[in-house]
Symmetry: C2
Subunit: 507 residues, 2 copies
């Protein structure tokens, strides 16, 4: 290429480097995985692991050869991740009208938007300036005020905007918290099993120790405080410094909701042992059965009645715009509320947020729209109410349809969905009844739930995640599936696949 030769000639007369060039140096080899941070290699994240990667490959094959792909299906059904808008859930008009104005305020002169849309956009613009400007690292103060108001209204107890950090989804909050709390390989984190693998992955990245406490599948995936206390005792004896107890409520992948009693027990444990509570409550709006109680509310009630016992409890509670009926995953909005942390520790959180400058400002605005929606009487209310009710009902219907199909399938059991976006059915496979499956899995260096999910994908295009990606009692096998894909055709395909699978492997 001409420009290269030119460069070379230009470089020649001005440097002694060329002499070195021709006498040459011995070029070094590129890095291998042995040269890099081993904790980044150890971290596992099954939700986007090998099976979803294979699903992407299959989808690319279909896209590039729409008719000649030779596969027994014509599209991938992504049930591996809670991504509603990928699966045709329509965004809420209220959100998107305001966000379009924030992006292009000139629209206010060109389009007749509902009065409350105009009001909210104008107010937000006044406080943001521009969504293209960095906000304060902790988040736009006006929006942090709104979040504090939302929490106060939800719980009946005051919340302070000083304790609110706006984050890029809840994932960013988890990253900050686990990074700050990981003070070396002896730092322990109690996590539910099964869990959302963001936790084990982030614990691995921080070279800390995950301590799994098993949820009780036979009792709606409830927690067992005695088991947790025993784990604390054993681990303390082994020199582990337990930093935090992670709670996912409503449960991911389990779809369960914690009872008030379970929450009280968990707070007791935190109070007694000085363990930070991390309460991942991103599915708090996805409730189909029972009632969601925030950990903050229960903590405030306990503090009120027994201040001497509970005033030191440290709680980080997380929320997101990605789930609920919002489903705005790609917009990366979230918040965490930090309760009971010392000012010094909060300053460290603030510094980490500063190093990342700020979370995306349109995502911060979306959080405000989510927690502070149109009220009855306002112009957008009817449409907002209609759209959100339809989504909620739709999700509930899909959850039930899938749940009932699982009940019909041989050797599958499943807890009734209470919340979140997932079912976590158990596959009752045993070596005695499925010897060929176990042999095949061993030959492929898989577990039987891997084999099931791989065959499900290859035969039907349905992509879900094996239970071992979330953790499960040894010798039990599960899978996690969302119930987000529309229609029932995919469930029928699954049912047919399952029959054939049983026929192929069961003796």
């Amino acid at each position: 290429m001409a420009s290269s030769t030119l460069l070379w000639k230009r470089a020649l007369p001005t440097t002694s480097r060329i002499v070195r060039m021709y006498s040459t140096f011995k070029p070094a080899s590129p890095l291998t995985v042995h040269d890099i941070n081993q904790h980044t290699i150890e971290a596992k994240y099954a939700v986007r692991g090998s099976i979803p990667i294979r699903a992407d490959e299959l989808q690319s094959l279909i896209d590039s050869h729409p008719t000649l792909h030779g596969l027994p299906f014509s599209k991938i059904i992504n049930a591996n991740i809670g991504n509603p808008q990928q699966l045709q859930q329509k965004p809420l008009t209220w959100y998107r009208q305001v966000l379009s104005i924030l992006q292009y305020p000139e629209l206010l002169d060109e389009v007749k938007f509902p009065a409350d849309v105009v009001d909210r956009a104008t107010t937000l613009l006044k406080h943001l300036g521009s969504v293209g400007a960095y906000s304060p690292s902790q988040g736009v103060p006006y929006i942090r005020n709104s979040v504090a108001q939302f929490i106060s209204d939800r719980d009946g107890y005051d919340a302070s905007p000083e304790n609110i950090f706006l984050t890029g989804g809840a994932s960013a909050a988890v990253t900050y918290l686990l990074q700050i709390l990981s003070a070396g390989p002896n730092s322990g984190f109690l996590i539910p099993i099964p869990q959302y693998p963001l936790y084990t992955a982030t614990i691995a990245l921080n070279n800390a120790k995950p301590i799994g406490y098993f949820l009780n599948e036979d009792n709606h995936w409830s927690t067992d405080p005695n088991q947790i206390r025993q784990l604390i005792k054993t681990n303390k004896e082994q020199g582990v410094d337990i930093k935090a107890l992670v709670v996912i409520n409503p449960g991911n992948p389990t779809g369960s909701i914690l009872s008030e009693q379970d929450i009280i027990e968990l707070i007791d444990i935190a109070a007694e042992h000085g363990i930070v509570l991390i309460s991942d409550e991103v599915y708090q709006e996805n409730i189909f059965k029972g009632k969601f109680l925030s950990m903050k509310k229960v903590l405030c009630e306990l503090k009120e009645s027994h201040p001497h016992l509970y005033s030191n409890v440290q709680l980080a509670s997380l929320h997101s715009t990605s789930k609920g009926v919002s489903g705005e995953c790609g917009q990366r909005g979230g918040y965490m509320e930090l309760i009971g942390f010392t000012q010094e520790v909060k300053s460290v959180v603030f510094k980490l947020a500063s190093i990342n400058l700020c979370s995306v400002v349109s995502g911060q605005a979306l959080m405000e729209l989510m927690i502070n929606p149109p009220k009855p009487g306002q112009e957008s209310y009817e449409q907002y109410h209609h759209e959100t009710s339809a989504i909620h009902t739709d999700l509930e219907t899909r959850a039930s349809a899938l749940y009932e199909s699982f009940l019909e399938m041989e050797d599958i059991s499943c807890n009734k969905p209470m919340g979140a976006m997932y079912l976590f059915p158990r596959l009752h496979f045993t070596e005695e009844h499925y010897p060929l499956l176990f042999k095949r899995a061993r030959d492929q260096k898989q577990l039987p739930d891997d084999t099931y999910c791989i065959e499900l994908l290859e035969h039907t295009g349905i992509c879900c995640v094996p239970g071992n990606g979330f953790g499960q009692v040894e010798g039990t096998y599960h899978l996690r599936t969302t119930f987000l894909p529309p229609g029932t055709e995919w469930i029928e395909k699954w049912t047919a696949f399952h029959k054939a699978f049983i026929q192929k492997y069961k003796v």
Copy 2:
């Protein structure tokens, strides 16, 4: 509160916990900073450090007492951070029209947008689905293709979309790279001094070792390859495993541009020692004097002429939507291109991106709009061209005005601005001539450049960052200021302050 009492009564009969409650446990103390990850405490980030925090306090005071604040100024001038839209730079119409449609596609039926805006929005919607859906973790494939095309056109050498990762600003890319490359406290990172403190902060968070190489202030902040080779030798002898060499071009905070010869020397060093090059090129469009050459282009030229020497070089080059004439900081768009990395190492980067799910999708779209703007003849071209030229000229004018003012100020010297958004003038303070300043600084546990910046803030409302936040040769003092604030009034105030400061302290 009534609800609390109710809860309490409900809880009473169902649990044995209450007995324990009244017999009580001893509540533990909350965490102190001694209990947490010490690396998070060590990390420093001056751009949003104590002086900017003080500036925020002053602004709050002004906001809450608009007339009675008692300060000698009526607003804060944020020259501490490159945040153009905070300082009244208007966003580009082309960007914002397309982004508004992506947020609310129904606008296409309601507003008559330019044809190329409609086309681009429609194409992006086809490939994104919705900005509310998670994208693939590496980024939307269509946009990665666009980025690869942009790089090919810029450099005259092919780029592959497989090597492109879309990230939440360039900061997220730095976080991934430094996390992956930090394999323990003996992992070394060569960073320029002065540097953008994201690097030292992230190195501290990863418990790795920063190795500063000094830029030569007397020669436009150029690099000295001999000094770098010497540092490699010394550090290798001490058992440090040098992982990467960070280059910021155009320079932050220096405002300089690297020469072709400097770039060749840096690539030689990387090739010989198997050191990853991290080339932070986020200011590549902010060029006022000289010519920006991407490290990728120079590497490709060297590879073409001497493949046996350069084919193993590993380069990560970073770009962002936050700077340039775009200035869309709050939208968090960015990309990194990884060249020469093994597939295995790239898989680890992919996994880290997966754990964070995806970067904000509207920010990904914005990257596409930035690198693939309207072309002559298209309907938006004239306006786009007019707006971008005006911003560029405006920045150049402001840079010159501020630079010339510094030249007039006693005991200040400054390199002529070539690129980026900053000036990094030197404050020629010595103990001999400024004994009171040095005494005062020592009494306050400050350095003289801290004292200068604090007094500048308290007297004028101008917020900039002391040179020690970026690193400087010991015994020299600097500050970093953006030239983004509009108008010249603030510069006049600065000039007056400086005169008074000299009068107060100089003997």
